[in-house]
Symmetry: C2
Subunit: 180 residues, 2 copies
């Protein structure tokens, strides 16, 4: 278990927060350094370029997805239900890394878009044994993508058009009925 430097992690946290809360435009190196409480020079010691900073975020995403795949396999409510429920953003580290990466991808960062497609393919492989056929798999994946898309759009993650509580339960029941 290699422990990355604290300062490096808080720079990454700040970059991620700026992306999630204010969009790709706002996530400059200057703003990131300021939000992390370091100078631009301090930031550049840990990440030598904007590109390196972005790669740092993609690496973090990869690690968090590894962990999530483990959780998913062990979920008592079932793989599909776990996957859908955790697609509704509640601000956990994976949610944040995913939204932040999606902002980079839409900004025109090709490797961020590729990273997102890669993690989606890994989730697809994990779900496939638990659904009836490919159409059912597509349905589950697309509903999850839709949930993330809406999470990414609304500034307020709690209100907005994303179903929560009983509405989310009903949606999951509906998808599971089609998929199993």
């Amino acid at each position: 278990m290699s422990r990355p430097p604290r300062a490096r992690e808080s720079v990454l946290d700040a970059f991620e927060s700026l992306l999630v809360d204010d969009g790709e435009r706002a996530a400059t190196m200057d703003a990131t350094a300021h939000a992390a409480g370091v100078s631009k020079g301090g930031l550049l010691y840990h990440f030598a370029s904007k590109d390196a900073l972005e790669r740092g975020l993609l690496d973090r995403l990869e690690t968090l997805v590894d962990e999530d795949l483990g959780q998913m396999a062990a979920a008592p409510e079932g793989t599909v239900a776990y996957y859908l429920r955790t697609s509704v953003m509640d601000g956990d580290p994976l949610d944040r890394a995913l939204i932040a990466t999606s902002r980079l991808a839409q900004g025109g960062r090709a490797d961020a878009a590729e990273a997102l497609q890669r993690v989606r393919a890994r989730w697809a492989d994990a779900l496939r044994p638990h659904v009836r056929d490919e159409a059912a798999l597509a349905l589950v994946l697309l509903v999850s993508d839709g949930l993330y898309y809406n999470n990414a759009l609304s500034s307020d993650p709690v209100s907005g058009p994303v179903p929560r509580g009983a509405a989310l339960d009903a949606l999951i029941a509906l998808v599971e009925a089609s998929a199993h």
Copy 2:
């Protein structure tokens, strides 16, 4: 029917194309002017600022959604099937305006995000009479959102993870079975 100046429209086309093809980062005023075949001064005559250019795109989206709602109500295959089928990007003007607006939204443009939520609400109102309940409505909307999200991520709109042909037909059948 007010006919907007040709040059103005081609500036808007160029801006939209840059957003769709290369991302928000690439869609600068300089690049837009160049792609439209005008000078920066020429562009600024039609759109006095970056903000005005972006508002121009949002206005275009609004108009195209008006037209689409008319088409949707008259679709012989049914409202839900029409909605889902046209959520798979085939490069028509509405697809492009929607993806371009989504890039602006993720870039941090609050009014673009609001515009997207507004058009989503209009589609929801049009679909509601044609589905069983709110969970079914959420399902249809989220599958569509998921399709757009994936369209927006893959540089190549034809390959990539979005179902086409028979796979799309199977998906639509599955959703309709749950929704009607």
